[in-house]
Structures are given as C-alpha cells and as structure tokens.
Symmetry: C2
Subunit: 307 residues, 2 copies
C-alpha cells in the first residue's frame, strides 16, 4: 500500500522538512541574524474552505490573514517590519468582495502597525491568502527556554473562538472572537523582557503544551485558574460539546502562552491569567476543579489526518 | 450588473492594491531600508492546475516554486538571504510525492544558495506552493531607471518555454526550459553594477516592455537580433502557432530583461543578447526581419481575464 500524507499527519511532514534542512529554526518563526539584530520571518496560508467560517465577511478574511502571521511575530516579541500578501481569488468573485478583502488586510496592517510592502495576485477556484510577516527582534523569545518552577500563563481567555464557531448567533464575545481574532503584538513586545518563553496558541492549548514540552520537564495546569463561567459551561453542554475540549483542543484565539519566573510575574505590566506551572513530572497534566488529576491528551487541530 | 474581478483583470487589481497602500514599491520586489543596506522581499504563489504542466514532475514543481521567487531577487541584483515555503497538498497525495516536492525545493535552494528558513503546511484540494524569497541589496536595480539611447538586452534566449509547453516530447531544450526554468541570480548580481534597469520576464517580453515603459520614451526591438532559428519557426508553424507570439506574449523563461548604456555593454562580463534600444517614440515597436515596423501589442499571460 502506498503511504499517503494523511497516514502520517501534518506534524510529521513538518518534521520531515526540518530534518532535511539545517537552516530552519524549529520555533514560531524563522530567525536570521542581521547586523546587530535578527530578521524574524513567518508565513501562513489560509484557504477559504478550511480556515474561513461560512459567515465570515470578506473584510474579516483579509483581517485574519494578517492576524495569523502577526501572531507569530508576537510570540517572538518582534517589532513588525512589513507584510507581503499573496492572494488567489476565483475569477467570478465580485470586484466589491475583492476590495473588501483588501480593506480588511489594510485595516489589520494599520491596527498592527505593519506596512503592506508587496505581494502577488492569482486565480484559483476558491480564496487563498498566503501572508508573510517580517519583523525585527534583538532577543527573540523562544518557545522552550523555560525552567522548572516557572509559572505558565496566558495573555487572555481562551476557548472563546472554539465556542463561537459553534454558535448560530450574529454577535457575542464568542462569535466575535471566532470571526475576528486579534494578535497580541503589543503584549509580545513586553513579554520579551519579562517572560522565559512564549508561543501563540493556534492549534489549541494542549497541542502547544506538547509542542513546547522538553524531556524530563512537564506541566501541571489547574482548571480552576481558568475561572470558566457557568454560562460557558452551559452553552457548551447545550451544544453537546465538552467545555474542556473546547478550551484545550481547538485554538484560534491567538492568545500567547508564556512561561515566566515567579519574581518577574509581579512586575509584568500587562494583563495575564496564570494557568499552571512547569514541573519535573515529564507529563502534561490537568488538576480538575473536583481535585482529580488527569493527563492532557496531545490532540489539536491537525491537517491531513483522516477523519 | 455586478462587476467581477475578471472584468478588470489582474493588473488593475494590483494597481488597486498599490493605490490603497503607500508602502508598496511598484517594482519586482519590496524594498525595505535596513541599516546600511536594503531588505528585498518577494512572494509568489503557484497553483497546480494553473502553473504546473500536467507532465511536470513533483521534483520540478518544488524546484520551480523557488525559481519564480529567486527570479525576482535576481531582477533587483539581490543576494539571497532566505526562503520561506508555504505548501498546501491534498490529503491523498502519496508521501513519496510530497518528499519529491520537498527534494525539488531543497535542491533549488542549494542551486541558488538560498537557505530554506521556514514555512507552513496545509491541506487543499490541489497542490499550492507559495514561496517568499528574502535578499539583501545595497543598491537595488529598479525596472524603469533607463535613459534614452540605452541598449535593451536579455540574459539569454526567450520563447523556449513557450514552445516547450506545446511539444509532446520527453526531452529537448524547449521542453526542458518549460519544465525546469532557471533564475538568473548570478547574472542579476553582476548586472547591478553595469545595467541601468532590469526586470525578469515572467508574463512575456511584450508585457514586461509595457510594464517598464515610461511616458515619452519607447522601445524599438529588432526581430533579426533574436536570430530565431529555422527549426524554431518550423516547429511553431507545425503546431499552428505564430513564432513571434511565442517569443513576445508567453514568458516563463525567467531570463532578465535589462537596459544598459552602450559604454557599459562592452564591459559586461556575462553573456547577453541585445534586442533593441530605448527611443523617444513613446511607442513599443518591432522592426521585422522583412524591414516593416509594427507596434508590439500589450498582451501577455494574465489571470482572471475571461477567455
């Protein structure tokens, strides 16, 4: 039987590429030493049928294509330098829709203070937006440079987008997060001087915890620290969904997951939510509200995997 | 009637984006001033059904995705700094085919001496490869900085790929050029110190001449200077194709089109073919082998335009 890419999954494919090239930084972005600083570069492709919910506006498609890329700059603590837009659209797309996408891109570039510096247009059977974000950073914030005893924290609440994707209403905090997430670029630049490591949560908290896990170290996460509202639990239950699944295994909130020493936490001049700590257990585990401890499963959104 | 993007064509869409952003360099790449030099960045997306001939191997798809991006660096005279690969593949693609694409990318990166520094993988219904090439250049070679009286030249013969796309044979110079074109990165770096302007030919010579044309200046191109072989003319005729159409209106050879003063031409340490001169006619015209002069039409490969 011929092996398909879906038989091994996206992470294995990425590992294959990295194993073949000695120049790839295995972190959120590429890092290229440059005079007295580092050029930070990252690219991310969004495909209409895979990444844009049906009711997402053209404006928000454009906006999100910048957000997903800027979010990787944020996780390094980089200053935005420029954005490149490669866009493919069907030829029967209305000119007005095209202009709305571009409006969304430019609005996001303004919001994140990253200039649109170049790009490329193409024809395709659906909308495909591939962005490249460039930034500068003297001391990039890597994702696995934490130590035993560090605190694990988030720049904001997660699981909002995950619930929002499943709601059939026009406008609430969950739907808004699903349709127009925002990258934490300001927070990333501050974390660079306080945190011991950082990454952005795209494929889900569990997936990112396993992504940053080092041999012999582990994480203990505490459910009670999330202060999950009764409303959130009820809405999840009404949809037949497990609220912990939504929080741990979906992602798309674009909050930053970071580690920090207890000393620095007190000085940190941004809002944050502590969710756990780095342990020497070699396990990624969760203390439930009821006191029981369970292992967190390593699953998240992954392309290619057969459903 | 609602206006579709196909009603206005790709070039108008690009003009719209440029008109909305004050930070885009209207040249082959973006240019970002950086300490004592310039960061050169460019991105190009290739879509299987649009850009890869049916018989193109997976290896050559990967190779071409690097070539199209490096070619833009070449046209600026830039030194390659790094390549980012954003690739989407169908989930039933064989793992072996995927590895061949990556082999092609890495082989091209070696060939052009540009390290693969990062990227992104995705799932799509067909193969989509979006590359970003980064480079450095102290004095970028712009595309419209020529003067009246400059000579117009090419780094090599063109029209080979155009004929190759139409041939049903395995292996000759035309088919090889169509399936594995090479970017002129070495020549670009040399031209930077000798030429007055340069651009790479992707959408066809005619299209590029109109792209670089300035008000009040024009170009006179001489058919005889191409030294088109009888073989080429005969093969075109056998296919029912006009050989001048193949040379002027197709592209995909990735040769550089450059202008240079007559004085500097003698000193130029690379192979080249002079094809004409910059005139004050305000017209893009061609002197045929039979002595007649005709206006060159502004048409080339353009996406979206209804056929």
């Amino acid at each position: 039987m011929t092996l398909k890419v879906s038989d091994i999954g996206e992470k294995e494919l990425v590992r294959y590429i990295i194993s073949r090239s000695k120049n790839i930084t295995p972190d959120d972005t590429a890092i290229t030493r440059f005079d007295s600083t580092n050029l930070i570069s990252t690219c991310d492709m969004l495909i209409q049928s895979r990444h844009f919910p049906n009711r997402m506006s053209y404006f928000n498609m454009g906006f999100k294509s910048v957000t997903v890329n800027v979010s990787d700059l944020a996780s390094m603590g980089a200053n935005p330098l420029g954005f490149l837009l490669s866009i493919a659209i069907p030829k029967d797309l209305s000119l007005d829709s095209f202009k709305q996408i571009i409006d969304g891109v430019l609005n996001a570039c303004d919001y994140y203070d990253i200039p649109l510096i170049g790009g490329d247009t193409n024809e395709a059977s659906e909308i495909i937006i591939s962005g490249t974000a460039l930034g500068l950073c003297d001391k990039p914030l890597m994702k696995d440079t934490y130590e035993m005893g560090d605190v694990i924290a988030l720049t904001g609440d997660i699981g909002l987008a995950a619930l929002g994707f499943n709601l059939d209403v026009e406008d609430n905090i969950y739907v808004n997060r699903a349709l127009k997430p925002l990258a934490r670029i300001r927070e990333g630049k501050i974390l660079k001087d306080f945190a011991t490591s950082a990454t952005d949560i795209t494929d889900g908290l569990a997936s990112e915890l396993y992504e940053i896990k080092k041999d012999d170290l582990g994480f203990m996460i505490y459910e009670e620290l999330f202060e999950i509202s009764d409303e959130y639990k009820q809405m999840s239950e009404d949809l037949g969904l497990n609220y912990l699944d939504l929080i741990f295994h979906v992602g798309e909130d674009f909050e930053l997951l970071f580690t920090i020493s207890k000393d620095n936490l007190e000085k940190l001049p941004i809002e944050y939510r502590v969710i756990g700590e780095v342990t020497d257990s070699d396990i990624v585990e969760l203390t439930l509200e009821n006191g029981f401890v369970e292992k967190i499963e390593n699953k998240g959104y992954e392309h290619y995997v057969s459903e």
